[in-house]
């Protein structure tokens, strides 16, 4: 469990808090999306989960361990943080070397490294690039290498900072399926994102941050249809929720944010309307 207790934080040399009195509990195996406007403190918050940043006030516990008491390397064994820009971490000559890097840092033996590199590259469709330089890959492929590089050591909690940026629809769909697979394995998934459409399809629990404080913490259906909260976090409704909002004749939107639920909601109403007009 990741537990954030009354955390306040400010960067050295600045006079105002980036996070103010943040409280948050994330259970093992839970899927959470942290959303909010630019500068809301989302990335700062998740950097506390593996100890890259330590709270000025309050505490962060990961599986009962205070992050103040452990090094980043020790915490990272259980908390895998995937950064937004893959170019900030890729350095090796081949994808295979890139995937092995963290495994070597964590002291895995060579046999296990070889097996894990093969498994993760196959799972993420990278097997044909295994001997290529990561620098010749496309942006989306580099992003997958960065993801694979973290998943290779099999952390219990996986944090993804803006995982959908630069990904086409097919890759987003693959990522969504992969997240579902990871959740079924009992992994905790935390994503930091602005992508309301992606969140609407995944339907995680949403923690909404604005100006360094948690302003809402609820289901995706409730938050992504709450105009007041969305406005505070500079977000908009998903398109399907907006469409239903623009059709008041259908009645109040009961929290529908994805196409499949919208279809279930619309079909009986359209049939009824058809019958009423005498065409059914």
């Amino acid at each position: 469990m990741i537990s954030v207790n009354n955390v306040s934080f400010r960067y050295p040399g600045t006079s105002s808090d980036v996070l103010t009195n943040v409280n948050l509990q994330i259970q093992n195996g839970e899927f959470v999306a942290i959303m909010g406007e630019n500068g809301a403190g989302k990335t700062t918050l998740v950097k506390m989960f593996n100890g890259l940043l330590k709270p000025r006030v309050g505490s962060v516990h990961v599986d009962g361990v205070d992050t103040q008491e452990k090094s980043v390397a020790q915490l990272s064994r259980d908390v895998g943080l995937i950064f937004q820009n893959p170019d900030h971490q890729l350095f090796a000559e081949t994808v295979s070397e890139e995937l092995s890097f963290s495994l070597r840092n964590f002291g895995f033996d060579e046999q296990v490294i070889k097996r894990r590199v093969t498994n993760i590259s196959t799972a993420l469709g990278l097997e044909r690039y295994i001997d290529s330089s990561p620098f010749v890959l496309s942006g989306g492929e580099r992003k997958r290498v960065a993801l694979a590089a973290v998943l290779a050591w099999d952390p219990k909690h996986i944090i993804m900072d803006e995982p959908t940026i630069g990904q086409d629809y097919l890759q987003k769909d693959r990522l969504r399926n992969f997240i579902v697979q990871l959740i079924s394995q009992g992994k905790t998934i935390v994503i930091v994102t602005h992508d309301v459409e992606f969140v609407a399809e995944c339907k995680p629990r949403i923690v909404l941050l604005s100006r360094g404080t948690v302003i809402a913490d609820d289901t995706a259906s409730k938050i992504l249809t709450n105009d007041e909260m969305l406005a505070k976090a500079s977000l908009v409704r998903p398109q399907i929720a907006e469409l239903l909002h623009q059709l008041p004749v259908l009645g109040e939107n009961p929290g529908i944010i994805d196409v499949y639920a919208a279809r279930e909601f619309l079909i009986p109403r359209l049939r009824k309307a058809d019958r009423t007009s005498g065409r059914g």
């Binding site: 980043v72 990272s76 971490q89 890097f101 963290s102 590089a149 973290v150």
Partner: protein, 259 residues
Amino acid sequence: MSLRFVEGFKFTKIDSPIHRMDPRAKFVLTIGLFTTALMFTNIFALITIFLFQIPLVLISKTSRRWLRSMKGGLFLGVFIFVMNSIFGTALVLSISFTLRFFAIMSAFSFFFMTTSADDLGLALDQIHVPYSISFTFTTAVRLVPTMAVDAQTVVDAQRSRGLELDKGNLVKRVRNYIPILIPLIISAIRRSVELAEALESRAFGATEHRTAIVTLKMHFADYVTIIGTILGLGLAIYVYFRVPLPTVVIPIQLPRIFG
């Protein structure tokens, strides 16, 4: 590892007599300090060059950030000392090289903290440096803080993958920086290519003869600084050739690994 020491090379607008000075005068002063530091290997001379800069830093109200840059340079300073020592340089000379590094670093930290990139660009234009060169130089100066942010992100990303920068012997510690330097260099190259394309898309270099709305004007203090620097440099050359400076003898020889 924090890269906050880069703030010691970043311009911040402050109302101080040094900030108001002409960038050309400050540049002459910096080059004067740099040249003098390169001339001497005598510890007392290098300490004098270093101490001479402290009142200037205090007048420019940048002492806190200057200290940060000195603190940030400690790793490199120790590296210079250790490398010189293990390659057989005498202990006194190793100390001198380390002091020289700090004297030069301090001079450039002082210059960049008190001179804006715009002023620097104007100064270069007014001494007829081709615009493409002055633009490249000032852009490089402007990008230093951005590069520092990038470097910190790279450090964070690699630490999150279990990299421990401060672990192991000296050789291992130096090797630990490879996963930091490569992404940093690659992203700098990518950024420069993108910047060049963006500039070309916005007709950079279309006008051969550029004009500037602001022209720099030297004042009394600037002339005093330039003349003072030239006299100081002359004095340093005189001392170097004619005045025997006191020397320090340290009767310890570190074990040679190489050399």
